[in-house]
């Protein structure tokens, strides 16, 4: 437990007041329309959503699982955080396409890309899944915050879950996405500063860079200093094959919406940017900051390993100590009066994630379910009110999941894996291949639920399949899903050309869109295609 001095409490109180004040300040902007409440009216310059990409993906659970990875694999563990690099290629491919589609959510994108019943089924399914996932994620990071508060003050875990969740809800309900994104900027700055400070203090506590390295070599862990240290080409927990799989999943996934865990929340940030260019640079810089942050974090975590090299991660109690290593460093190495600053920064890390997830879950409900299926002609005032109610409901749902998270962690990991492996290929192909239709995509989603269950749990439990490493699970699930996705797609009709042409006109997707592009050119030539440039626009557009 940590003993707070008056100055420590000052930091926490000042930070809390600042955060809540933002909700009050941006209340008027958030209430103007549902477009403001959920995507800030699509008016943001690139650096605002960029800060939010970074801040939202810096959660209280991130240093916990990263610390666990670094404790096991050394600096190579940072590659497990490289999935955010999907934005590297996406920024110049799928980000532009999605921003041009003008869909609020990934679910809405389905009904623009696909038509008819299939498109609607996909939209409803993805919206419902995402509301559930946002509650799940909120419960997950909320209980992580509870563990940190337990470490600091000895509180029961659920106190932190509830207290800091409600704090985040105050400004998110008041100001919606405006409140969340403006808070993300200051939260991102505070979090980045503290992450850097903990690394400096942590390395100093381990005897400086030289001392830290000596300690690691003395403990027989000198290999941890190499971020390219692998356990073998195909063997061990961290093989070259796993490393290459991570790079492929992340980078190639950026051609479409491949790493869909991240895609859902980034889609909102893409859509809130004021232009296609701003969306591209927001994603690029935000994700690059995450990669940089991982490196800074990695050094602090390595310092913890140097200080406590003999923890046995097979023992649950010691594994918990190891996983909370970064927090131990912060609470124990910061000078008196600054521990509160560290805790305020942890609050910033936490609030930036919960506010984003609450607003996103509420948007799926309000835009994709309530407005689209229940009350299509709801007024803007009604939609904002529904957005606020849904924000509160998502928070309450997260308390339920948070309270049982200990017994469902495996389910969460399973659910996240479902969202990556089996649908990775269709998520890419639906962007780059015109022939992908709603039935092929939907069939893959449904089949993937069963296939993931079989490959991850059922078949290994009966000895019919060995327990595979995640890298092999990924390729196997991708292959099995492709065996369903490709035939179903080719045996069912393509989407109506009229729908595809309308989508092409707005989004201009890249890849194999030849038949659609030719149809679009014919339509355009006879003047039947949607919006046209005003006279003289082409000359004016050149720079």
């Amino acid at each position: 437990m940590v003993t707070f001095q008056p100055l420590d409490w000052f930091w926490v109180a000042a930070y809390t007041a600042l955060t809540v004040a933002l909700g009050a300040v941006f209340y008027l902007l958030g209430r103007r329309s549902s477009e403001d409440f959920f995507i800030a009216g699509r008016k943001l310059p690139w650096w605002l959503p960029s800060s939010s990409v970074y801040a939202t993906h810096t959660a209280t659970d991130t240093p916990i699982w990263m610390m666990g990875a670094v404790y096991r694999y050394g600096l190579a563990g940072i590659w497990l955080g490289f999935f955010s690099a999907w934005a590297a290629i996406s920024a110049f491919v799928s980000t532009k396409i999605f921003r041009r589609s003008l869909a609020y959510t990934h679910a809405e994108y389905q009904s623009l890309r696909f038509g008819g019943l299939g498109g609607e089924l996909l939209r409803g399914w993805i919206a419902g899944w995402q509301i559930f996932m946002q509650m799940f994620i909120l419960g997950w990071v909320g209980i992580a915050m509870g563990r940190v508060a337990n470490l600091a003050f000895g509180w029961p875990d659920w106190w932190g879950l509830v207290l800091f969740g409600v704090l985040g809800a105050v400004y998110t309900i008041a100001a919606g996405y405006w409140g969340a994104i403006i808070a993300d900027v200051q939260q991102g700055v505070v979090a980045f500063a503290v992450i850097a400070l903990v690394s400096v203090w942590g390395v100093a506590a381990a005897g400086g860079l030289g001392g830290m390295q000596e300690r690691l070599f003395a403990a027989g862990k000198g290999w941890m200093l190499d971020p390219l240290h692998f356990t073998g080409l195909f063997t061990g927990d961290f093989s070259v094959f796993w490393f290459v799989t991570i790079l492929v999943v992340a980078l190639i996934g950026g051609l479409g919406m491949g790493t869909s865990i991240d895609w859902y929340i980034e889609a909102q940030r893409i859509q809130s940017a004021k232009s296609v260019r701003d969306a591209s640079w927001a994603m690029w810089t935000g994700a690059l900051l995450i990669v940089l942050r991982n490196a800074i974090w990695g050094v602090a975590m390595l310092a913890f390993v140097a200080l406590f090299p003999a923890l046995d991660v097979a023992d649950p109690a010691q594994a918990r100590t190891a996983e909370l290593g970064w927090y131990h460093l912060g609470f124990n190495t910061f000078p008196v009066g600054m521990v509160g600053f560290f805790f305020a920064a942890v609050l910033a890390i936490h609030l930036s994630t919960v506010s984003g997830s609450m607003n996103l879950g509420a948007m799926y409900w309000t835009r994709d379910i309530y407005q689209h299926y229940i009350k299509p002609h709801a007024t803007e005032r009604e939609l904002v009110r529904m957005g606020r109610l849904a924000t509160g409901a998502v928070l309450l749902g997260s308390f339920v999941y948070g309270s049982i998270i200990g017994s469902i962690t495996e389910w969460l990991i399973f659910a996240l894996w479902i969202m990556v492996a089996g649908v990775w290929l269709p998520n890419i192909l639906q962007v780059v291949w015109w022939r992908v239709n709603s039935w092929g995509y939907l069939a893959t989603w449904i089949a993937n639920l069963g296939l993931s269950w079989l490959v991850v749990w059922v078949l290994p439990a009966y000895g019919l399949l060995p327990e595979l490493h995640a890298s092999y699970q990924f390729w196997l699930l991708m292959g099995l899903s492709a065996l369903i996705f490709i035939p179903v797609t080719l045996l069912t009709k393509p989407e109506p050309m009229e729908r595809l042409v309308a989508f092409y006109d707005a989004a201009r997707p890249v890849g194999w869109w030849g038949p659609v592009r030719r149809a679009w050119e014919r339509e355009r030539a006879r003047g039947a295609m949607g919006p046209r440039d005003p006279p003289g626009a082409q000359e004016a557009g050149g720079r």
Binding site: A88, L102, L209, L251, R277, L292, G541
Partner: protein
């Protein structure tokens, strides 16, 4: 089509060209180089500076290749955006 300083029009900017492909390749290079370079630099390994240098160079090249095209694309899309937005909202209300 010039790699640098191409005078993009709304029409040409809206087509996928080698500039986009190069941007994607350079961008992926930057991400890997930053991950490696920053990690090595922060633990005092001089190899890190070389990787960070590569990341910086690739970033500058990326910006030089794609920024003007992104600006032109944005400008072109902005003219269409209002009508597209109306179509999306209409469809959400089952009117489109």
């Amino acid at each position: 089509m010039r790699l640098f300083g191409e005078p993009w029009t709304p029409e040409t900017a809206d087509t996928w060209t080698r500039h986009d492909l190069l941007a994607a390749v350079l961008s992926a290079t930057v991400f890997v180089a930053v991950a490696l370079g920053a990690t090595w630099t922060f633990i005092g390994n001089p190899r890190g500076w070389a990787w960070l240098g590569l990341a910086l160079g690739a970033s500058l090249l990326l910006h030089a290749i794609i920024e003007r095209k992104l600006q032109a694309q944005s400008e072109a899309f902005r003219r269409h955006e209002k009508a597209h937005k109306q179509a999306v909202d209409d469809r959400n209300r089952w009117e489109g």
